[in-house]
Symmetry: C2
Subunit: 442 residues, 2 copies
């Protein structure tokens, strides 16, 4: 009896939501950034719905937008991921805990140690989202005037990964004998001193922590650039990506799986999970209405700037409540971007204001519909190899999360597209990933 | 009615104990380094006993002793402090959570952020133990061949403190207005951009986190060197120190309080808490017997090396089961150290083996006796201004902790020397420390 292929679902979280207008949505928790009680509720519901992981997005700077937009933003301040996920590990048993950590602005010894500690605390549920930190404002918080150049960041990231995984392998799984009689706490023959000396990093080791429960915490990678795809193929076990549509997703899926094979790895051991905003309604119209309402909470002044960028034209000159003009001035902006805006305006009959608020709110891939229509779409993405599952973002919290966990997930379960219960206790088990062998010990 | 002065008590923890033989003591939990369940039990008991704080000691390297000693050590591997304390914050409500973080091998933006996050998660219970990381092996895990020189470490530490506290003050306490109607999430006039440019550090800010619940997490400092004492006088709110006896403690107490006053601070706002091993018995003899038994679990080969250092002579030549020879060869070792060993041997009638195991186990200040005799001693230290309380280390766990919380603490409470219950919810309230004003906002 062949088993139906199943989706993997992770929740990509900012405490208030990633949508820039979400904190003003009726029933939202604007104070969730520093209110642990709300986060406990969210993760408990996600675990009850059998999500693979709770994934904490992160930034390393506040000043990444003009002050007029900044003052309206709920996403630039919140709990730090390691401390938050460690706290949340105690109120959950099964759901994975993915933290973002930068290879550009941190030390591999610290990063290896914190993930190993989180993995031990949580009984094998940690994942490391490797980021090279694209935001140039971050550099200024870490002693630099200029951001580290893209190629250099990826080169260091690759070496950083080697060092961190090498540090996780510092001790054999059976190194800690703790033999009261002989007084030997661990076998020094089962301890490896890394002695790494590379172009960017020099780290002796060993790590001052036993090998993680999962061997290595799960490796997540989000880059879509050429070096990002290559890094994913060589190292990632989960890819968090942002294709615009199924065609783009299939191209990315094929490319990253091919790079994985080329790197000598099993393509089953890398899960491609496109980011998707999910808005669930009892009817398609209701879902669309929720999204339109949500977008109205995006401030027009900041929204119009986003639209202007996408159009390559000053959209503040247009009538906000009229349709998008068809006679846009010639510019050297990307034609495909401009065509995309025009298509969206036509498809959904949006005014300039609504278009702007869409681009200022959340412009990425979205599934907006009933549990049945969304399940249909997801099944197609899974069957056509555009995705192994999705990195879910919620339009607003808590209601948008409840809509997914209480309405969409049961529909996916009925169709056999999502697990009815966890089959194991570690994140690797949820994702069907093998436990890595220790490179220094059998 | 004048109130009796009370002791402050913090628990200085390694998961298995700081005593090097403790993991072999009957009933111990040798696996506690990576077993959260044990740590949850410990902190729950400490909170029930109304301890001020749970204080997680830390290291940044494994290779800090010869391999023959290393393989017997349970103290070089364990949970990382931030992840552990964040997890423990969820199972407690009142007890403070003190983490060690290095100013030499970390970035102020990360350190400020993690402590602020822990303070928010825990409702105002975080404390930062500022260390400059004395262990030269740590340097090798962070890209350096040589350890950073002592004076340079303290210079950077002082600047690091200024940056971290400045980052904590990034937002006024009332900056986050979250006004749904106007769409303003925070008032940018209540955000301060630090723009720090100093000799060792350059950090723009602001921190991407609201001001901590306590304003600043409590500042703990452990140095006893000249620059360490000065740093404490200028910055510390709790001093963790290691005087050998009451006379030494009084000198240190006077000196640090004087430096505090000289720095323009209120001497009531710095609490001097000497480290003390506490061994409780129903009789003094029973307590001494527990300690002697504990010392027998220290391996002789490693113990004798510690004794040789203290004597400035090769103690492995002596009869292990005889008394300390009186005709020690002349050396240029410290006379006071040698006299201290001879006095200990005479006072307690210890053999060479027992002496060695004492020095290899835990050679610092210890209170060994009944609840009544220990309370007597503590009362004297408090009255004579040798201490404002103690940084308690347990000889073995869990029994040594139970002895303190179930036997000593009730005795101290009966005498009015220790609180019967917490008077507030934040660590600052437990310690009687004011909430710092924001240097940039009223």
């Amino acid at each position: 009896m062949s088993e139906i292929k199943k989706l993997h679902l992770t929740a990509f979280m900012r405490p208030v939501s990633l949508h820039s207008g979400a904190w003003r949505y009726p029933g939202s928790y604007p104070d969730a950034n520093f209110n642990l009680a709300h986060l406990k509720t969210f993760i408990t519901k996600l675990e009850a719905a059998k999500f693979d992981a709770f994934f904490m997005a992160d930034h390393l700077a506040v000043l990444n937008m003009p002050v007029e937009a900044l003052k309206r933003s709920h996403t630039v301040t919140s709990f730090e991921p390691f401390t938050l996920l460690s706290a949340l590990s105690v109120v959950t048993d099964k759901i994975g805990l993915a933290a973002t950590a930068s290879t550009t602005y941190d030390e591999p010894y610290h990063v290896a140690r914190r993930f190993a500690s989180l993995d031990h605390l949580s009984g094998g549920r940690a994942a490391w989202n490797i980021v090279t930190t694209a935001n140039p404002d971050s550099a200024k918080n870490f002693g630099l005037d200029e951001h580290v150049e893209h190629g250099d960041r990826y080169k260091r990231a690759r070496e950083f990964y080697d060092v961190v995984t090498g540090l996780w392998d510092s001790f054999a799984d059976d190194a800690f004998v703790r033999d009261r009689e002989s007084g030997v706490y661990f076998d020094p023959d089962k301890m490896h001193v890394l002695n790494h000396k590379g172009d960017d990093l020099k780290v002796r080791g060993p790590l001052n922590i036993a090998r993680p429960v999962q061997g290595w915490p799960v490796i997540v990678q989000a880059g879509q650039s050429e070096p990002g795809r290559q890094l994913a193929g060589e190292t990632a076990e989960v890819v968090f990506c942002s294709p615009k549509d199924l065609a783009g997703a299939k191209e990315l899926y094929r490319d990253i799986k091919a790079r994985t094979v080329a790197a000598g790895r099993n393509p089953q051991h890398i899960k491609i999970l496109p980011a998707a905003l999910i808005v669930v309604g009892d009817t398609v119209e209701e879902a669309k209405g929720k999204r339109l309402e949500l977008d109205t909470y995006v401030h027009y002044d900041t929204a119009i700037a986003s639209l202007s960028v996408s159009l390559g034209a000053d959209a503040s000159q247009f009538d906000p409540d009229g349709p998008l003009p068809t006679d846009l001035p010639e510019t050297n902006a990307s034609k495909s971007s401009r065509l995309g805006v025009a298509k969206l305006a036509a498809d959904e009959g949006l005014t300039v204001r609504q278009l702007a608020q869409r681009y200022g709110g959340y412009a990425g891939l979205a599934f907006v519909g009933t549990p049945a229509t969304i399940a249909d779409e997801m099944a197609i993405w899974l069957a056509e190899e555009g995705a192994d599952g999705f990195t879910v973002t919620f339009p607003f919290l808590p209601q948008g999360l409840d809509d997914v966990t209480q309405k969409l997930v049961p529909e996916l379960q009925r169709r056999g597209l999502f697990r009815d219960d966890y089959g194991g206790t570690t994140l690797r088990e949820h994702l069907g990933l093998p436990r890595p062998t220790n490179r220094f010990f059998e």
